[in-house]
Amino acid sequence: MRRGRRGGTVSRRSWLTAYLFLAPGLLLFAAFRLYPLLDGLRLSFTNARLGRPAQAFVGLANYERLLDDTRFHTSLYNTVFYTVASTLPILAIPLLLAVALNRGTMRTVLRGAFFFPFTLSVVTVGLTWLWLLDPVVGPFNYYLRALGGPARSWLADPTTAMWVIIVTTVWWVTGYYLVIYLAGLQDIPRDLYESAALDGAGAIRSFWAITLPLLRPVLLFVFVTHMIGSFQIFGQVFVLTQGGPGDATRTVVQHLYETAFQNFFHFGSASAMAWVLFAIILVFSVLQFRLLRGHTEY
């Protein structure tokens, strides 16, 4: 096995061959990832618009305008709210399910059931919940009323609309994180639990003392992945609420999409938003690594 690391084709003369292998991928990567990334930064300093060939350099004007754009502030607030409010459920629910599944029988079948929604597109997920929650004829309100609960138009109420989007997303992605947690749990040596049990530790004590600390790298992965994804939330909002009621569920990417492709066709301004979003995501990622790394040695 160790031989495999260095084995095979190790030759200094073969560097030309190496780059011939890399060429198609690097071309794709440079043209459609690196170049757009940098071009977006350039656009954010111009007054580029859809269908206007001439662009002028406008310095920081697009960024300054964002300071006054109250709809951008609302969308930023909503996006951060969504990210923060959904983090605990998305960290905890799949984790609890994974711990339970890891102990129980029929793991493969149950895992499959929870995973299935993740194979659906965001549009399908949105349409599904739109129909479930239909205020007049949807089954959710019917059963809620039957149980004596407060039926209402969940998506039309600004206090509940964002929570519906969170619930929908949790339902959608739980299976994905469940699989990742299960893999992490498999890597924890069984005898740790056995010796803890010998020392008289119960299931809950073992969870806090063994499972959680040893899962720290997996938790970090879930934490960062979810954060990067949730700062870019768009599809759920587009299908379920279009950002409403009012601007209660308007998010940054939706605002960006509308600025660039729906209302103003203002590419410069949209690019500035994209880079502000990128900066925020980077800062959060670094913070999370700082927060959770340092402790991974056990």
Partner: protein, 273 residues
């Protein structure tokens, strides 16, 4: 035992929304809005499927969108698998100047949020004249998944024992022959996992096709479905749910056949991420 029963009940509850979509899609229009909700679609009908697939004049036809999605997803899988296998091989098995730099650039790009390249990518695709074309969907989709593919395949190639490659080399095989006749056949499981992953992301992507396509006959499924919603909103959920069910079908089939492999792919994507 109690735990399994509890989890089983929760799993059933988890799948109820999906069941409700299929049930609705099979009901006659007046039965759909009947209260209390009926969970058995009887008498059943396929009229909504026929309508969205072939005869709806209100919006993009789901039948056409289905074909578009198949073409785009298969094209993306082919491009991702080819480019990332070719790129991952030297990154794992050869030493050459610039290797670490190339690898760090590619892996670092996993941190780039797709939303950040949306506008400039649109500008690029427009300049290439690729708006509303298959290549305008396939190539950016593939570029999005390429870095993950390199990461996944490189992990796999690194752990492959080198003896077979050495033996082939001694028999006079060149690097291309070693790669295509020894390495690729040995990599089938991981190539399958990557294919499913790439298929899923291309099949389900919504934001990019929403802006890169402005001709109804070129819409892939998610965009066509989102429009279906507007076209039918207040009258009937039947056609919308039939469209939703159709869009879930291919991955449901893949999922039933290759549950293990999908899960394996996800697992690999998470570990050491």
């Amino acid at each position: 035992m109690a735990l399994t029963v509890g989890l089983g009940a929760l799993a059933v509850l988890w799948l109820l929304p999906v069941v409700w979509v299929f049930v609705t899609s099979l009901k006659h229009t007046p039965d759909i809005i009947r209260v209390p909700p009926e969970w058995i679609p009887w008498p059943a009908t396929l009229e909504h499927y026929v309508e969205v697939l072939f005869s709806s004049s209100r919006t993009a036809r789901i039948g056409r969108a289905f074909i578009n999605s198949i073409i785009v997803s298969i094209g993306t899988v082919a491009l991702v698998v080819a480019t990332s296998a070719l790129a991952a091989y030297p990154l794992a098995r050869m030493r050459f100047p610039g290797r670490n730099l190339v690898f760090i650039l590619i892996i670092g790009s996993l941190m780039i949020p797709n939303a950040v390249v949306l506008v400039p990518q649109y500008v690029l695709v427009q300049q290439l004249g690729w708006l509303s074309t298959y290549q305008g969907l396939i190539v950016p989709e593939a570029a999005m998944t390429f870095a993950f593919g390199v990461f996944l395949l490189r992990q796999f190639f690194l752990l492959m024992p080198g003896e077979l490659e050495d033996a082939a080399r001694i028999d006079g095989a060149n690097t291309w022959q070693v790669f295509s006749r020894i390495v690729l056949p040995l990599s089938q499981p991981v190539l399958a996992a990557l294919s499913i992953f790439a298929f899923r992301s291309a099949w389900n992507d919504f934001l990019w096709p929403l802006i890169a396509v402005n001709k109804a006959e070129m819409f892939p499924l998610p965009v066509a479905l989102a429009l279906l919603r507007g076209a039918y909103s207040s009258e009937s959920y039947g056609p919308i749910m039939a469209g939703a069910a159709l869009s879930a079908l291919p991955l449901l089939l893949v999922f039933l056949v290759a549950n293990r492999r999908i899960v394996e792919g996800v697992r690999l994507s998470g570990l050491k991420g």
